[in-house]
Structures are given as C-alpha cells and as structure tokens.
Amino acid sequence: MNEQEYKQMIKRCLRCSICKWIPQLQIKSQKYATICPSVDIFNFHAYSGGGRIIIALALEMGRLEPSQELTDIVYKCTECGGCAVSCKFLNTLEPLEIIIKLREKLVSLGYGPMPKQQQYIESIKNKNNPYYEPHEKRLEWLPNDIKIDPDAKTLYFVGCTSAYRRKEIAIATTRVLNAADYPFKILSENEFCCGSPILRTGDKNTFINQLNKNIEIIEKEEIETVVFSCAGCYDTFKVDYPLERDYKFKILHTTELFNELLDRGQLILTKEVPLTVTYHDPCHLGRDSEPYEEWDGEVLQMMPLVSINMPEKPKRCGKYGIYESPRDLLNRIPGLNFIEMERIKEYSYCCGAGGGVKSAFPEFALETAKARIEEAEDTGAEIIASACPFCSTNLNDAIVDRGSSLRMFDISELILMALTTPNKSVKESFKEVK
C-alpha cells in the first residue's frame, strides 16, 4: 500500500463493526462469534480494526497528535489480520495494512516500537535472537543422533523460538525428516532471526537489514528449498521478503513437506495415536501466509464516482493460506480423532502472541490464549495441535494458567508419535518430545 492509497483508504471506514466479528455467514454460536482479540479484551472501539483506521485518519487530519496513549492503542494489536478477512467480504479496505503502516509512521516519528519490543530488537541486532540468548547456544536443541547432510539442497530453518524455547519442535521435525531419509542441512551458527518480530513492530529498516542478511546466506549456500516449522518465519519469508527483495529458493512449511513425504511413501505412519485432537490455525500459516498477488491492471471510471479495476484486483482474504496440509496430516495419523473448533482457517481466532504483543503486553497475550484454549476445550478434545512454536508457547502458557487438562503438541510431534521408529515405542517418542 503506497502513501496515496493509504491516505485515500483511511477515509473510507463505515464504522460498521464487521471487523469485530468473524465473517457474518460463518457465525455458528454467540460465544465464538468474534474475531478481534484486541477489542475483545479492551472493549473501546479504538481497539478494533476500524477504530485503528479512524486513528490513522485523525492523525492525518491533525485532530490527534502522536502520543503515548495513541501508540499504546496501536500496538495493542496482534496484527492477526482477522479484521481484514471480515471487512473484505464485501469491502475493499485493508485494515491490517493500515495498521502496519500506522506503526511504521509511529516508528518514524519516534513513538514506536514499545519499550519491550525495542529491547528484543536490540537483542536481535546483538545476539541474532529476540530472547536475549547467546548466539552460540542456538544449536543446543540438536541431539547428537540427528543426521544432517552438509551437501543437502534443502535447508531446515529452525527459527529462534524452536531453537531456544520450543526445542521439542525442532527435535521432532528433524527426527521426522531423518525417518523419511530426507536430506537437509541447517545453517548452524549462520542462522539468524527471520526478522518477523521486528517487522511487526513497524521498524522496517531494521527488518530489511535482517532480511538481506538471511537471503544472502541462504543464496550463498546454494539452497533450493527452505523448510520451516515456524509459521512466523515461514510467513515472513514467503509473504514479506518478496515485497522488499526477490530470492530464488523455494519455501515450504513442514506440514506441506510431511504430506509430500507421505504421498511419496517416504514416511509411513503406522502407529496408532489414539488421541482426540483439535487444531489451531496459526495466523502466520493461515490467512496471513497468502502471498500478495501482483496486479498490473487499470482503474477505469465507469461513470462519475464509480470506478472499477480492470481486471478485478485480487482480494487478499486468506483463501490461499495453508489450511489443508495440517488437517490432512492429522487425518492421516492412525487412530487419531480430529475435531474442529468453531473459528477455523481464514477466520481462525488468534492465539494472542503476535504483533509484538507477547513481549509488550503479556497479560493481553495470555487472556487471548485462554479464550482460545476455552474454545478448544469446548470441542471435547484432549490435545490442541498447532504448527507454530510461538502459538505453542502462548497457548501452553494459557493451559497452565487456566489449569486446563488440554495438552499442546506441534503437528510434528504427533507425526513422530505415529512413525515406525526402530527401537522406540510411541511412549518413548512421546517422552522425548515432551
């Protein structure tokens, strides 16, 4: 969205509140009708997608000056993009893109990111991860028996969260790849943060530095395919990097790759995993991972006040997110009973961690995750599965805080349980990934 589009679009909010709900035609119950964690928690209209569009307009009109109060409201948003999906069912506004641009403007005016976010950005600059962890410990998750092929053309990009906080996901992913005899390598000491946590705060310049560093290393290694178990890294590489710089390698999420390996018979799931599982769509793997489509058409004025795009401009409503791969995997696991929550796919409810919220506003993140856990509990499932270590962290925190009987697994962990792994029973595998 360029500056001109931004200035035009912020004048167009109808204040209809559609952005607060999942798409109207998908509402199935009163309890799970909402889409926006921010307005669900903070209630005032300013905390909705539409409210933030009005903030942008009021700033542009000079009715509001940048302030700490304003910054706080703009940053109390997980940038999940749910508002945009609901709005764009009939409208052509881009609430999420407006919020992103608003943050960039606040950064340029010296008001963003939030202090905690500035701290983790410093950590990324100095230690290559947002967790203030020593870079040299990045490989501590790696068991000795994992086979890594230094000549492989596929790279497993582990990501900071799996490397430091949810090591079980990195372990399960690499074990599954080994079980499939699928050659891969890792960047070891040359793997750096993907930049997603920076980008979401509006600090675009720092993000671009990070992006350049990553693309250069990966291209230098002559990698053909990069595989991610982290939805955030995946989305950033797939959707955000190409907006700034082209690259030649292919992008895959592990849920996509695992399905391919199963299709090719390289993976065979034989062990029963008798669990009732529901699945949480990470925003970064779901609606937000839909790439921007280039549109090179013309705007034709059909009559005064009425213009059309020729050809029709594609609406980015989350249709091309990754929804079926994780579900296919769960359905392929023997004995596993998969059940859906009410809010799924492009109108899935956010876990609450994204957009820099987990660090800047941990209580907001936790409350949102607790709401999602409640929705998972209501399905009757015993397991909530996902495909993102960051969602996993936040949802796990909510499970603990709520005292929920649910357990959280990454899909890779469930796949590992279902694999015929020599000398390892399901229970042993389970123990390891725990």
Binding site: R12, L25, R63
Partner: protein, 521 residues
C-alpha cells in the same frame, strides 16, 4: 475537553477501572461515524465525518451500573449518548458536554422462550448472534436492513427497523414486547409483563393503562434521546426452511448448500402499477420469505460482491420494475403449495422468472438472504451510501414517492454529486401480509469527495421537501429538531407533542436530543 477529575472518579467507581476513558484518542475515535459528514454539512458545519467529541466513553456491564451512570449525568449536567453496535451518525453526540455510553459489555441473550416465541436480549447481542442461537430451536428473528452485525435491541427500541425478511419477520416497531428502560432521569421503567409484581416475564409489551411503547419508540425510535434500553423481548418466528446452514470454501468466494425447499424469483413487472398488484397478491397469499421491489441497479448489487462483478450484470439493471421474491418451506408439501401459488401469479400477471434463464445467482446469495446480509451490498459501488428518504404507507404511496423522486435524483446525478442508478434506486418491502409497505431510496455517494458529500446533503434536503410538497405519507427518516419542525406543521403538529414528551421524561435534557427533539421551543 476531559471530565473533571472528581467526576471521572465517580464514573469510574461505578464501572470499574478500565471501563471509562477520557483520553484524546478514545474520545476522538468515538466522534467518528459514517455519514457524519453529511449531517455536519446539513448543520452548516465542515463536511467532516466527526461529531462533537465526547468528554469520555463509559462501558457499563449491567442495568444497575447504567442507572448509576445516568443519575451521575443528571447530577453533573452531562449529556449522555448511548450506542450499541454503533453504525451511523445517530450514534453520535450532538453537544460538547457529553459522554458516550458504549453498551458493548451488555451482551447477554437473557432468555430464549421457544414455546412462546420470544427472546430477551441485551443491547450488544448482534443479529447474527441471536439468529444462530434461536436457529437451534428452528426459529428466526427479524434483523434490520443494516445487516446482521447490528443490534436487534437497538432496532427494536430506538431505530426504524425494516429488513429484507420483513414479509416473514415483520418490522422492529411491531416486534418489540416487554422492555427494561432506563429513563433519562435514571428511573427504571419496565414495560408490559416485565413490570408485573408477581412473576415478571417478557411475553407482552403492554399492560393495563396507556401503552408506553408508542412514546418509547413510535415509528422511528428516539435514537437515545429518551433514555437507554437494557433488555428487550423480541418476537421470534419459525425459521423458513431447514436450519442446516452450510457455508463452505473461503471468503469472499464462499459456497453454500442451498437448503431444500427454497426458491428465488426475479421478475420484471414492467411498470409500477403492475408491480403494486403483484406485490399485493404475493403478500396476501402469505407465501414469501422475502419480497422486495429493488431498482434494477439494486438488484445488480445484491447479486454482486464487488463493483467489478456488479458491472457484469448490466442486463439485469435494465429491468423497469423488478421484484425479488424468495419462497422457503420446511416441508415438500408446503413448498409445492408456495410454488403453485407463485406459478399461478406469474401466469396471471404474465411474468417470467429470469432466475435460471437469464441469470443464476451464486448459492451464497441464499446464505446472505437467510442471514440478512444484503443491505451491506449498497456500499459496493462507491463505498458510501445512504437512504435519502423514506415512506411507510400503502404500496401505492410508496411507489408514488419512488416515482416522484426520480427526476430529483437525476438532477443530482447530472451534477455528478451522486452515482448513476438511473435515478431509480429504491428498496421497498411489505409488512404483515401487505397491510403496509415501506420504501427508501438508497443513494450512492463518495464520502471522500467533498463535492459529493455536499451534493448528497443537498439532495437529501430536497428529497425531504419533496415529501412535504407531495404529502407522501409517514416519513421514514425524520431525525432531529430541525427536521421534526419542518415536518410537524404538515402532520398535526406532532412535533409539539414530541417536545412535551421530551420535557416530561427528560426534565434536565440529559438524554442527547440531537437525533430526537429538543424540549425547547
């Protein structure tokens, strides 16, 4: 202008920390609304989409809290404006010395009485939320034309309340049963069965003594000008078909499994005279779930989800007097009967259904019709629209009003102030088996263009004048002192009675009268 610290503290004590905000950002954001630019221009102000900024916004969670807030407003002489889902300029404060009461936290479905066919709801239950819960009992509710995201309570108590499904779900004014109402001075009024000393319930709206429902809302509601409504019982109706509601695929190109026993008719009646006869007969036979006269352009819009797809449907737009009818049934026998009646009427009036021949809508149209999502299609063409006038009366009067408006509208189309819908843009539907009808004239403008906003405002003023000159029945959009004083002398001086009511109920003029009537002469 923020609240004085002491006053803020008193409000905060009632609603709790975090549920009141008087910061610049929150209050400015609540000053914005759709079409506010038109209202401002009509009032001689800059055509910007911002109203006066409230001093604070409060979020009560219960009747008790709200009553205390209103008493504080009276104590400190602060005007209050209440809003539920908040769409439209009538949610905006009209004076600087005001607070907004956002009823968002009052969001419970209090009761669903499936045997006696009513539900009791709080202000922030949306139409969709109510509908999905009562569908579990095979029931449906009336949803306002503004869409399923808005509040049925607001529509039932405070707004006009037509809807696309009006032939089968009525009109908000006629659907409201018992009510819990906080008057402008803070007293709680319980209407109908809810006021009973023993076993209060909600199943009727009037009791012995004069009916207060007329004062509460009358035809078009008081838009928070006469207190706040905290609970309302609304009538429920049988869901028109089976309640399986299966939306598949991804937004915005959803697919839908059209329920058994549902059929759409789009016919061109050719002229208004014939249209009137056909509508009457369809309604007299009580067969329609939805029966709307929509101008050709509006028919194009309800079948489209983007301006580009709307432009594909130009041939539909050529129809002179289109009628859109949906019949739906729960059993094959009922469906066959309704189809037979429609067949008979089409034969009788020599009409052809274009559905399946000239045009076949996507299945999602049926999902939107069932959820009352069609009104939102009015925004597709220019991003902004508003109904410029309205009439509630007989079909003949509604159509006369439609016709009389065409030349005026074309004048403003020529000026390029409003978009070209051939001057015919109309939505008209019927109520209670054709006993009365309403029409309004949706008009598309561009809220980002000052010339369009000004033109739209001038057109709306002239449209009102036209209603007065031609005596076109009970007006539909009459709000605010200036307009009431314009219409009143032409209609039994009703405005003087409204002023007396306002004075009696709101002696301190604390309930914002901006979209109702000022008590002063």
């Amino acid at each position: 202008m923020v609240l004085e610290k002491e006053i803020f503290k008193e409000f905060e004590y009632v609603v709790g920390v975090g549920n009141i905000d008087d910061g610049d950002v929150i209050t400015n954001i609540y000053a914005y609304n759709w079409c506010m630019e038109i209202i401002n221009y009509m009032d001689g102000k800059d055509p910007i989409p911002f109203s006066p900024i409230p001093k604070a916004v409060v979020l009560p969670s219960s009747t008790e809290e709200l009553q205390k807030i209103i008493k504080l407003c009276n104590k400190f002489g602060i005007v209050f404006k209440a809003q539920s889902t908040g769409l439209g300029p009538w949610n905006q404060p009209s004076v600087e010395n005001s607070i907004i009461i956002d009823l968002r936290r009052m969001n419970k479905i209090v009761k669903i009485d499936e045997k006696n066919l009513y539900a009791v709801i709080e202000p922030y239950v949306s139409g969709s939320q109510l509908q999905v819960e009562i569908m579990k009992y095979g029931l449906n509710c009336h949803m306002p034309g503004a869409g399923p995201q808005v509040s049925p309570l607001a529509s039932a108590t405070s707004m006009n309340g037509p809807g696309f499904t009006s032939p089968s779900t009525g009109h908000s004014a006629r659907n409201v049963l018992a009510v819990e109402w906080i008057l402008p001075d803070g007293e709680i009024m319980k209407l109908g069965a809810y006021g009973q000393k023993n076993d209060p319930d909600f199943f009727y709206g009037d009791g012995p003594g004069p009916s207060l429902r007329g004062i509460m809302r009358g035809w078009a509601g008081t838009k928070s000008g006469l207190g706040v409504f905290t609970k309302v019982a609304v009538k429920l109706f049988p869901y028109p078909c089976n309640t399986e509601y299966k939306v598949k695929g991804y937004s915005p190109n959803y697919d839908f499994e059209i329920p058994d026993f549902m059929k759409l008719y789009v016919v061109d009646c050719g002229n208004f005279k014939k249209l009137e006869k056909v509508m009457h007969e369809v309604e007299e036979h009580e067969i329609s779930f939805m029966c709307s006269f929509l101008s050709g352009f509006a028919v194009m819009a309800i079948f489209s989800n983007s301006i580009e797809s709307l432009m594909d449907k130009i041939p539909i737009g050529q129809m002179k007097a289109p009628l859109v009818v949906i019949i739906a049934a729960r059993t094959k026998r009922e469906f066959e009967y309704k189809k037979e009646v429609m067949y008979f009427l089409l034969q009788k009036f020599k009409l052809k259904n274009i559905v399946g021949k000239i045009y076949t809508p996507k299945p999602i149209f049926y999902a939107e019709a069932l959820r009352s999502n069609l009104g939102l299609h009015g925004f597709i063409a220019t991003g902004g629209f508003q109904s410029s006038k309205g009439v509630a009366d007989t079909a003949a009067v509604c159509l006369r009003s439609t016709k009389s408006n065409i030349a005026l509208k074309q004048e403003f189309i020529k000026k390029e102030a409003i978009a070209n819908d051939f001057g015919e843009g109309t939505w008209m539907t019927s109520y209670e088996s054709g006993h009365y009808f309403h029409m309004e004239s949706p008009t598309m403008f561009d809220q980002t263009e000052e010339s369009s906003v000004k033109g739209m405002a001038e057109y709306m003023e002239k449209s009102n004048q036209l209603d007065l000159l031609k005596h076109l029945g009970a007006p539909f959009f009459v709000e605010g002192t200036r307009i009431h004083e314009m219409f009143g002398p032409h209609m039994s001086n009703y405005h003087t009675w409204l002023k007396k009511i306002k004075q009696a109920f709101d002696p301190n003029n604390i309930s914002d009268s901006g979209f109702y009537i000022s008590p002063d002469d």
